[in-house]
């Protein structure tokens, strides 16, 4: 099987982030923010995970696991209980024009 091409393991399909990307982003976050500033929302910003079209429906569970595992390697025990995250509107991909006014007079 060695001649076969090994594909990456994709964590975030929307923004094309692989497992390696996620772990790389985690370490970059630790470098910049330190362990204290490295909460799940920071991890989302550094890794782009949960910020694509699906709004984390596909990747949040996998991302949490990476976050908790990598923190554990740094001797920080995170209970997923405490992971807080925010959902943003619009929760679905809809044309922005729907919310727009037709001309300046309408504003």
């Amino acid at each position: 099987m060695s001649e076969k091409k090994l594909h990456p393991a994709i964590i975030c399909r929307c923004l094309d982030r692989t497992q390696e990307d996620m772990i790389g982003a985690f370490h970059m976050m630790i470098d910049f923010l330190g362990i204290d500033g490295a909460d799940i929302n920071a991890f989302r910003r550094f890794s782009w995970g949960t910020t694509g079209f699906c709004q984390g429906r596909g990747c949040l569970a996998l991302m949490q696991r990476i976050y908790v595992n990598e923190m554990r390697k740094l001797d920080v025990r995170i209970s997923p209980d405490e992971l807080k995250y925010k959902a943003r509107s619009p929760a679905q991909p809809v044309p922005l024009g729907i919310f727009a006014k037709n001309n300046l007079e309408e504003v």
């Binding site: 429906r57 619009p90 929760a91």
Partner: protein, 485 residues
Amino acid sequence: MSVDRRIWEHPVLTWDRGEPVKFTFDGKGVVAYKNETIAAALYAAGIMSFTQSSILHRPRGPFCMIGKCSQCLMRVNGIPHVRTCITPVEEGMVVETENPHESEFPTPVSSLEVERKTLSYDVIIVGAGPAGLSAAISAAKAGAKVAVLDQSPYPGGQLVKQTHKFFGTKESHAGTRGVDIADVLLSEVRDHENVDLYPMAQAVGYYAPEGMLTAVRTDGVNRYTLLMMKGRRYIVATGAMERTLAFPGNDLPGVMGAGAAQTLMNVFGIRPADEVLIIGAGNVGVIIAYQAAQAGIKVKAVIDILPKTGAYLVHAAKIRRMRMPILLRHTIKAVYGDGKVESAEIYEVDENFRPVPGSEKEIRVDGIWLAVGLTPSVEMLEKFGARMKFVPELGGYVPYRTQYLETSAPGVYVAGDASGIEEASTAIMEGRIAGTSAASSLGLGGDELEEERRQAMEWLDLFRESPDYKRIKQGIQKVLMGERV
């Protein structure tokens, strides 16, 4: 049209596909049927790769088929990023793959027609699955003015693809196929004049300062209605999303959620693959293995990392009798293929879930279906400001709730899988509890309403007495709040 993956003979199901319609896909003509969505019609024509990913240029195909993942987005009549899995085909539609590397700034070929509506209801329900529809019926019976929003063109939630008969008791429609339960609930909803059903309406946000729920309804080609809705009570019944696993090749077209495959097979009558590997031998895994065999698909193996199947005996026994290989203590190593799934490599694990050396096996398949659990869809609850907790027993983040299913956000209720992963029958009961509670908190209904709620709660308590439910019950205890005064 050389490829037709539609199932024309099936032991249990028949499909009302409707009249043939023609549309174009990347300039080529495709013949579809009126009752199909774009994604289903393309799959039927043998097209598995729907988009190219934005950075790695990888081909992707739909993963969920119910409007939750983002792998089926295409440009439809010039509108970019349309979820093709929940958009019905129309005569003359122009469907194009989005190639983010070649595309210029998206310019719609025609302008949007947008109607704006401001509406008020007593109870607004997001999600028209078993929980949402049941909640609507209960609230409507008490005289509340109810709106039910659903993003899919076909209300009924995931009941519409359940072709097996349900367990439980008469009250929970036991012995009836899920798809028939959906019909019963829908016709009951339609009997109530005080319920407005909004299919193809996606709830996009809730704005607390204005107390306004916004939803976008698709009315046709480039036509939308922006619904700005004020509800005195809200019920969130948004269901759940299938999980995925991290393994090399997990994004190849042909790797999909088991529920997605079920949608293609049972709702649209389309064979998603010819030979499959199913990952997860729980209830979903074994039920879908059986349904795949009914659809004429060869199940090469059903694998599960655990030493024991978590499925109900009746379902597991069915596929055992068909001599389908169920490989326990096995998991997936990688999926290979050029542009689509061609083979999978699996291996055995020991009691500590470590790989057993030399146990790797390669299986030639063109489909990988993941039945590895669900995560509650709680974005709308988060928008309402409900306090959440991560409860592994319930599948992920779930809201705190009272015994009447009111969340920590006053006037916002939760029901069904969004409150924790359970079953369709419990979703129906939870829907009744949320629906009756929302109505009664508005001062509607009388003793009958109280009685309905009492019965639903009693039924749930009894159902959850089952030993299979021990874990879920423990999970619910973690997020149960005392009743608000």
